[in-house]
């Protein structure tokens, strides 16, 4: 069942155009969002969060358009745009204390569990954290209010392999609880482990949006991994 619908997103920049991006996210499924740097992943995600205003197209969650329902929708979704890049000198516990004011469904137990799982010292400031730990803190904020949809821009970048593995396990648990997850990544081996669907974008256009097995079947050649499919596909596109 689709709980997020993205239809015909277009955004023109001088050097880049997001061209008619459409896809949907289903309840209880993990979608890996792949593409080269500058392909349009972050612009798409920012458009889905109303941080960037598309020239055309619409985004709806739970059957409601984002425009006009932003506050209600944002309490029901979690999102992380990379690392924690704000208030570097505030203690994490103070940041969390303020952030949770805005979520009536904030789950204190879940926040504590994620803090323990991620080994986050809440008395530290973002300035004292490694990039990986900042990502984890952002994920704690995104996942501690019972979100039904998680939209994560490169959540595993900067994480060590063990932390990444732990995070993927968390994603799988959330998926089993019916959460829809969209996350962009360049680590395609992670997608082999947990993604149900693959969304592939190139030069602002969606090349493929399909169930992972079907994506490999239609885009790949026998024996190719996701990374090999992407590499070959990009080379073919570059060489015309």
């Amino acid at each position: 069942m689709s709980i997020v619908e993205v239809r015909g997103l277009c955004k023109k920049y001088p050097e880049f155009t997001l061209d008619n991006v459409s896809f949907s996210l289903d309840k209880g499924r993990i979608t890996g969002f792949i593409g080269r740097n500058g392909a349009g992943k972050t612009t798409t995600i920012k458009s889905m969060l109303n941080l960037v205003h598309p020239d055309a197209g619409e985004v709806s969650y739970f059957g409601m358009p984002l425009a006009g329902n932003e506050a209600e929708i944002k309490t029901r979704i979690g999102y992380s745009t990379g690392t924690l890049n704000y208030y570097p000198r505030k203690k994490l516990k103070d940041l969390i204390a303020v952030t949770k004011l805005f979520y009536p469904n904030w789950d204190e137990d879940a926040a504590r569990e994620y803090a323990e799982l991620f080994k986050l010292d809440l008395n530290k400031t973002p300035l004292e954290l490694s990039e990986g730990m900042k990502v984890k803190c952002n994920l704690l904020l995104a996942m501690s209010h019972g979100a039904e949809v998680l939209i994560l821009d490169e959540p595993t970048s900067g994480l060590d392999p063990f932390s990444r593995d732990e995070l993927l396990d968390v994603f799988l648990q959330l998926r089993d609880h019916g959460v829809a997850i969209l996350y962009s990544t360049h680590i395609t081996s992670d997608l082999e482990k947990c993604a149900d669907d693959i969304l592939y974008i190139r030069n602002g256009k969606i090349v493929s949006s399909a169930e992972r097995g079907r994506f490999i079947e239609t885009m790949g050649q026998p024996g190719e991994t996701l990374e090999e499919i992407m590499l070959r596909s990009e080379r073919e596109a570059r060489n015309g």
Partner: protein, 217 residues
């Protein structure tokens, strides 16, 4: 909205914004252009905008589950809150000068503006100018505040200059009334300036909401 104001006070506000409220006490300084107290309060508020930009607050706020217009409204609510705190101090100090201190020689022998309801009105005009010129100007980009602040400094000092000069114009001496002299005129000017403050602030906030909605973050 209440949560946005709490967020402003706990996370975004520079301590200087609170400390500079105390410039309201400058109302008591004899032989001093006391309207500068209102300007210094806005200088304290400027520190919050600096701190907010350094801390990437705009992106943090835009990601919160509130309509983008509430981000702007929260900021205006904080600004007006600080202004009203400073105004409350100025009002109490002005009442002191209008009553128990009204006969004091240091205040009577003073070429500069006297503390009365006209002074309070002009203080509100300076706050309205800050809200309109600086805060409204800031939200054209949600990033750049140098030009809006220079514009505010110029506008604020033009208001101070006019306020200080006006009562020296023949026929307008009543603007510098002591105590409750010409209280009707004093009240009319205070109310007119309060109305101007409200109009400048609300119009600026509406324009800022529209501008912030359009900005790509």
């Amino acid at each position: 909205m209440g949560n946005m104001l709490k967020k402003e006070m706990k996370l975004s506000a520079s301590i200087l914004s609170y400390l500079f409220i105390a410039f309201g006490f400058m109302t008591l300084i004899p032989g001093y252009p006391i309207l500068c107290g209102a300007f210094f309060t806005t200088l304290g508020l400027f520190q919050t905008f600096q701190s907010m930009r350094e801390n990437n607050d705009t992106v943090y706020s835009a990601l919160l589950p509130v309509p983008k217009r509430d981000v702007v409204r929260g900021r205006y609510a904080f600004v007006v809150f600080i202004e009203m705190c400073s105004f409350a101090i100025m009002a109490v100090m002005t009442l002191l000068r209008m009553t128990v201190l009204s006969g004091s020689t240091v205040y009577r022998v003073n070429a500069l503006m006297n503390a009365n309801l006209v002074f309070l009105g002009f203080a509100l005009l300076i706050f309205g100018c800050f809200n309109s010129v600086f805060v409204g100007g800031f939200y054209k980009t949600a990033y750049s505040f140098g030009k809006p602040f220079v514009s505010h400094i110029i506008a604020a000092f033009v208001i101070i200059f006019i306020a200080e000069a006006l009562h020296h114009v023949p026929g307008l001496e009543a603007l510098n009334a002591f105590g409750f002299d010409h209280i009707g005129l004093q009240l009319i000017i205070l109310l007119a300036c309060a109305a101007a403050f409200a109009v400048l602030t609300v119009l600026s906030m509406k324009r800022a909401e529209r501008n912030f909605e359009r900005i790509d973050l």
